[in-house]
């Protein structure tokens, strides 16, 4: 039994956090029901649908009278920043803003369930800045009016340094509410010593060596994406009919006995212990696993295509220190800061110039340090080339929650068995 596997925080967080979230949901409904008749205890939504892109006067209205407070409460994810937090120390030294960085977000669903009641009631969630994924919940946050519209005049470094792809994202046109923290790819990770070469999704469906040894994601969106790509459909442009086709593909894969299980973060452990030999995977995890356990797992973007997702800086509408928050957002778009962050987390860096910065820093180093930094700078997982970007697709974009529910119901039976 390996100690490092046992205490894998990513697996633990998936299990422990969910229970916490569920309790919170119950508490919310409990409070809502106190002293009220059955009919009175509805779960409050915002009712009004915020426009997909913020109107100019919405920006002016939100930012009017907002000033720097000197403290910033920042909600992030585990393993998403060097534990010594060099960038935040630098930020404090530069701006005088004290940063309270908490690794409180572990899954999007529970996080939304946790902060939704406070945001609905117009109360502070205790954070001025949060990093959220462009999943179902991003749309839920945006459409509920929970995100502050960004004042781009306060984001000069983003304008100057962000890669072109990050300025035209389908889930948030014109970066009205968000700018990227880091991106990642969903592709296939595999243990080449057991599987031999693997090139694409077809292997996960009918390479006889992989029978019973394939891992897929339990996340409905990720699973659905692979089904769609296998069916030859671009997820971002898929229709309800395509979803059915994709579900048929996935059911066949399961019925043929290829799928060992559907995993959350635990997939990387399952790959490590040999439970699966090839699995749907997130790019940065594979890099970190190889580094920490000294393994040599391969990661590929399938021939049929993979997906790209983005974790984004957003400011909750009830933030107490939005000015401090937007200053921090822009700070991470200074090339030097983007470069050190990407060096540690190994996910796709939204600042292309960080690659040159890494190379120039590497030139001043020697030995292993130099090699390690150059490896990051040359990694296609951190700085994908145009050829890689061409194979990457965005997630299915849902226009309404009812569409998302339909998508969920289409793929859910595959995972829940």
């Amino acid at each position: 039994m390996s100690a490092s596997n046992m205490s894998d925080p990513t697996l633990l967080r998936g299990l422990t956090q969910r229970r916490f979230g569920r309790r919170d949901a119950l508490r919310l409904s409990g409070l809502a029901g106190m002293g009220a008749a059955l009919a009175a205890c509805g779960v409050q939504g915002q009712g009004t649908q915020a426009p997909a892109s913020a109107e100019p006067d919405a920006v002016a209205k939100f930012w009017a009278g907002k000033t720097k407070t000197g403290t910033l409460n920042f909600a992030g994810w585990p393993l998403y920043m060097d534990p010594k937090k060099p960038e935040l120390k630098k930020f404090t030294a530069k701006t005088g803003i004290k940063v309270n960085y908490q690794e409180v977000i572990q899954e999007m669903g529970p996080w939304f369930a946790k902060v939704q009641p406070q945001l609905s009631a117009g109360q502070s969630i205790g954070f001025d800045l949060m990093v959220i994924t462009n999943s179902f919940q991003f749309t839920q946050f945006r459409d509920s009016g929970f995100l502050a519209p960004l004042d781009h005049s306060k984001l000069p470094n983003f304008a100057k340094n962000a890669g072109a792809a990050y300025k035209k994202e389908a889930f948030d046109p014109g970066n009205a509410y968000s700018i990227p923290w880091a991106s990642g790819m969903t592709g296939i990770a595999y243990d080449e010593s057991k599987t031999g070469p693997i090139t694409g999704l077809a292997d996960l469906w009918n390479n006889p060596k992989l029978k019973g040894k394939v891992g897929m994601f339990s996340d409905i969106q990720e699973l659905g994406n692979f089904g769609l790509l296998k069916a030859g459909v671009n997820p971002a442009e898929s229709t309800e009919d395509d979803w059915e086709k994709a579900a048929t593909e996935l059911k066949k894969q399961k019925a043929d006995g290829y799928v060992r299980n559907y995993y959350d973060q635990g997939y990387i452990d399952a790959l490590g212990t040999g439970e699966v030999w090839a699995t749907q995977a997130w790019s940065g995890d594979v890099f970190q696993k190889n580094l920490s356990d000294n393994r040599n797992f391969k990661f590929i973007i399938p021939e049929e295509g993979g997906t790209i997702w983005t974790d984004n800086f957003t400011i909750p509408i009830t933030a107490k220190s939005p000015v401090d928050a937007i200053m921090a957002m822009d700070f991470f778009y200074e090339v030097a800061n983007a470069s050190t962050l990407a060096e540690y987390i190994n996910y796709v860096c939204p600042v292309p110039a960080a690659q040159a910065d890494m190379r120039s820093r590497a030139a001043k180093l020697t030995g292993d340090d130099k090699e390690a930094l150059l490896a990051v700078a040359d990694s296609k997982l951190v700085f994908p080339t145009a050829a890689e970007y061409a194979k990457l697709h965005y997630y299915v974009a849902f226009e309404a929650t009812s569409e998302q529910q339909k998508f969920q119901k289409t793929f859910e039976p595959i995972v829940l068995g």
Binding site: M1, Q46, F112, G274, L416
Partner: protein
């Protein structure tokens, strides 16, 4: 004056528990019942419409998982009785001066987090782990043989995690048996098997009954063991409820399923109590 005080006292005593029950059980129950009858979505909010069809839809969509959970719960409980009885019996009658030590040993795993303990079983049972690797190398099992992801692993995890909840109540019941009753049985020429069957086991029944309540209900609604040790073929209803609440924000379906599960378990428990004749059992327990 004294008489008034004496009349009020029981109510005062029941107050803390009563308030606790009201705030943390009754109120959430009402709220959840309401939630299960609402329609809408998380963005626009849920409104009460008395939409009871959510129940029929949820039952038809997830009946497989409901049955599966009840079957896993029942098997777990039966295995637990078979395992816990000898342990409790041995501690109660042969534990001697070290009884407390042995009980402490039964409870010891509780000092480690439930989730962590279950995850460590994952490490032991995994395909290339310390158990299966040597067996496979020795050619005793096939290349594709595995334990994780099977019902065996999930039920094994449930048994492991709930064992103390069965041992303790049975132990308490056995511990209270007056040794003179057993001696009397022997004096009347009952052999050990008859003594056990006619004297010890009936006296231990209240403990078994309590143990069944304490294990069958949580084991049937458990959502950790199947998540960690199982696969999509072993999905239990607890996982479905959790997924509906947290991943899908479908609060009505989740609430409806919770109520269905509660109802099914309550019916099960009452039927069980009826068949076993709880009143007699309770009388024995109260002696």
């Amino acid at each position: 004056m004294n008489r008034v005080k004496r009349q009020i006292a029981p109510y005062l005593l029941v107050l803390p528990g009563g308030i606790w029950l009201l705030i943390f059980f009754a109120v959430p129950m009402v709220a959840m019942l309401s939630l299960s009858l609402q329609e809408g979505d998380i963005v626009h909010g849920y409104q009460f419409t008395g939409h009871w069809q959510t129940y029929t839809e949820a039952i038809s969509a997830y009946q497989t998982q409901i049955y599966r959970s009840l079957i896993y719960g029942a098997i777990t409980t039966i295995v637990l009785i078979a395992m816990a009885f000898p342990i409790a019996f041995w501690i109660a009658f042969y534990g001697g001066r070290r009884k407390s030590t042995y009980l402490f040993l039964v409870l010891l795993p509780f000092f480690v987090s439930f989730v962590l303990r279950t995850i460590s079983w994952r490490q032991i049972l995994t395909d290339e782990g310390p158990l299966l690797s040597p067996l496979r190398d020795a050619g005793l099992i096939g290349q594709s043989f595995h334990i994780l992801g099977t019902p065996f692993a999930v039920i094994g995890g449930l048994v492991y995690n709930f064992l103390p909840f069965m041992v303790l109540p049975i132990y308490v019941a056995l511990e209270r048996i007056d040794p003179r009753v057993v001696e009397a049985a022997r004096d009347l020429y009952a052999n050990p098997i008859t003594t056990f069957r006619r004297v010890i086991f009936p006296l231990a029944l209240p403990g078994v009954f309590a143990g069944v309540l304490m294990t069958f209900v949580p084991a049937s609604s458990d959502f950790v063991n199947s998540e960690v040790l199982g696969s999509s073929d072993t999905t239990m209803i607890g996982q479905v409820i959790q997924a509906q609440f947290l991943d899908n924000s479908d609060y009505p379906t989740a609430s409806a399923l919770s109520f269905v599960l509660m109802l099914v378990l309550l019916i099960g428990v009452f039927t069980y109590a009826r068949i076993l004749g709880t009143e007699d059992v309770m009388k024995v327990a109260a002696r």
